[in-house]
């Protein structure tokens, strides 16, 4: 079967509508996503290498990229730890309110980012519910890079939970029983048997949260303070360049961010391919 299938573009089927469905899909995909993105890449390529590197190598741009990356890495790490814990508790234990807690996990996906942004800012501002408590400890969160990490933690919260949950639910408990029978303590079973097989899912969730955090705009700009070199994230710098009608500047920075997004996408696909080979399931 595959011998002839390799030769032709599609395998025969009695179902109708392939041509029109695929045709529409390709036209729509090209018109909405591919051509606009290609136009942006073309525009940044038109700048020339020297101009491109002058914009990207600018200290303010580098500071923004470093901040976006650093804050996103930190937030994704926090989410990896608490995400595994949350998935564990939600899958393995039953307690009053478990169903509600499980439903709540998706709130950062559903809540518009601007709403999340102003709510977090109000909470962590020096006179806010949490902020005034932290202020007595001498800790300033809103309008500092710590505030950015808080916002990105909120945004990335569901990713690790939602990638780890199904894998943990499908986890073969016989492996745990076998480990226990062979004399492993519960701690050994968890850290040497269960967690290693959750690793691809954790990494996938981590990468997804990271990718989302690096591009995040709405929830961050309110809490960040937006001081150049200190608390100015990369997407905000693109917006600032646009508002200055500095299209070249905006495009060059956007091209770097796009390259980062594509690398993240590639990494996620590699993790899943590795996971399929190693564990027989997607991460």
């Amino acid at each position: 079967m595959s011998g002839t299938a390799v030769m032709r573009f599609r395998q025969p089927s009695v179902l109708p509508g392939f041509g029109i469905a695929l045709g529409f899909t390709l036209v729509y995909l090209s018109g909405i996503v591919l051509i606009p993105l290609a136009a942006m890449i073309l525009k940044s390529a038109g700048l020339g290498w020297a101009e491109f590197w002058r914009i990207v190598g600018d200290p303010r741009t580098l500071a923004a990229i470093r901040l976006s990356f650093g804050a996103s890495l930190l937030a994704a790490s926090i989410n990896a730890v608490f995400g595994v814990l949350l998935a564990w508790v939600l899958v393995r234990y039953s307690f009053p309110g478990r169903r509600l807690a499980d439903a709540m996990i998706d709130l950062p996906f559903a809540l518009p980012t601007a709403v999340a942004g102003i709510a977090l800012t109000t909470l962590y501002a020096p006179n806010g519910w949490i902020g005034q408590f932290l202020a007595t400890l001498g800790l300033k969160v809103a309008y500092t890079p710590i505030g950015i990490v808080i916002a990105l933690t909120f945004i990335g919260l569901p990713f690790v939970v939602r990638t780890v949950e199904p894998v943990l639910r499908e986890f073969d408990r016989e492996a745990e029983e076998a480990a226990a029978t062979l004399g492993a303590t519960r701690r050994q079973t968890v850290f040497r048997v269960i967690l290693p097989s959750l690793l691809p899912a954790i990494l996938t969730g981590y990468a997804l949260a990271l990718a989302r955090s690096i591009g995040e705009y709405g929830s961050v700009i309110f809490i960040a303070g937006n001081i150049p070199y200190v608390s100015e994230i990369t997407p905000l710098l693109i917006v600032i360049r646009l508002e200055e009608f500095n299209y070249a500047g905006a495009t060059a920075i956007a091209a770097v961010m796009l390259a980062i997004s594509f690398s993240m996408l590639l990494i996620i696909n590699l993790i899943q391919a590795w996971s399929r080979r190693r564990f027989g399931h997607d991460g």
Binding site: Y28, I32, L37, G97, L242, L265
Partner: protein, 298 residues
């Protein structure tokens, strides 16, 4: 309740406390882990949500209704509904077409196509707006031609709609594709062999099979369409009463220190999010088999 839940001793009723010790944690560890989880969720999810509604009603119920019924707010609500009413059906039609082609047929380049459909999710919302400014803005590729013909796309409603379609692009398709792949083509082949035509097959065989996943995808697509901020902020130009969507209106009010009014409009968006979550949870609970299983409770 799944079999697993029955195997695990619940925190409430532990008839045989030591029976599962080897494959579960001690009661103390369980309680501590649950406490950390609940505390984390309360701090990071519940508190921000509560803050939105508390701040919204800080000025009293009359100020609340005044804030959401003033002309600029109403214009923002109208624009948000209009944009969603265009963007969601567009992505719905696309999602069904893409899922039909990808799930029901075998062809070369299928996995590349699936990856490309997911692409908008990994692009920063700011870039999603920027690409259309670069195409349709005054300095853009089509800018001169458009202005010569008196058509405005960037910094106007068409641009907002395009940016919204971009950011919500994959929602419906990615709900349908795994489910339709799982369902295969047997039902459709049977219908066709019994004399149904293509449309009849789709309407009476395929559609009933995917309706809950379709509703689910539309729901998520709509929530994002109404709440999108970054992409829309870049392309809208933020002209009050004209190109201001609800999230942008929230930002403007907030930056003008009209906090109560900002949170009043924000509370409508938060309500939308809560309703979305409630319906989503209900659909997952009631129709788990009719919704793609990828990564969700079964």
């Amino acid at each position: 309740m799944t079999v697993e839940n029955m195997l695990v001793p619940s925190a409430a009723g532990t008839a045989a406390p030591n029976r599962y010790e080897a494959t579960s944690e001690t009661r103390g560890v369980r309680i501590v882990l649950i406490a950390i989880a609940v505390l984390f969720l309360a701090l990071f999810l519940l508190l921000p949500l509560a803050a939105v509604f508390m701040e919204a009603f800080r000025g009293g119920i009359q100020a609340y209704f005044a804030a959401i019924t003033e002309p600029d707010a109403l214009a923002a609500i109208r624009l948000t509904l209009t944009v969603a009413a265009i963007a969601v059906p567009c992505n719905l039609i696309f999602g069904v077409a893409a899922a039909w082609a990808i799930a029901k047929f075998e062809f070369k380049g299928k996995s590349l196509l699936t990856t490309l459909i997911d692409l908008p999710f990994s692009v920063s919302p700011v870039i999603s707006g920027l690409v259309y400014v670069l195409l349709f803005g005054a300095q853009g590729y089509f800018g001169p031609w458009l202005s010569a013909h008196g058509i405005q796309i960037a910094f106007a409603v068409p641009g907002i709609v395009l940016a919204t379609i971009f950011v919500t692009f994959p929602f419906v398709a990615r709900e349908l594709i795994p489910l339709m792949q799982e369902q295969g083509t047997g039902d459709e082949e049977a219908a066709l062999s019994l004399g149904a035509n293509g449309w009849q097959t789709f309407l009476f065989v395929t559609l009933p099979n995917i309706k809950w996943a379709l509703l689910y995808g539309v729901l998520l697509c709509n929530a994002r369409a109404m709440g999108e901020f970054g992409a829309v902020a870049v392309i809208s130009g933020k002209i009050r009463g004209l190109t201001n969507t609800m999230p942008l209106h929230v930002e403007i009010l907030y930056n003008e220190y009209a906090f109560s009014a900002a949170f009043a409009v924000a509370s409508l968006l938060a309500l939308l999010a809560l309703v979305t979550l409630a319906i989503k949870t209900f659909l997952e609970w009631r129709f788990a088999d009719g919704i793609a299983a990828a990564g969700r409770s079964h």
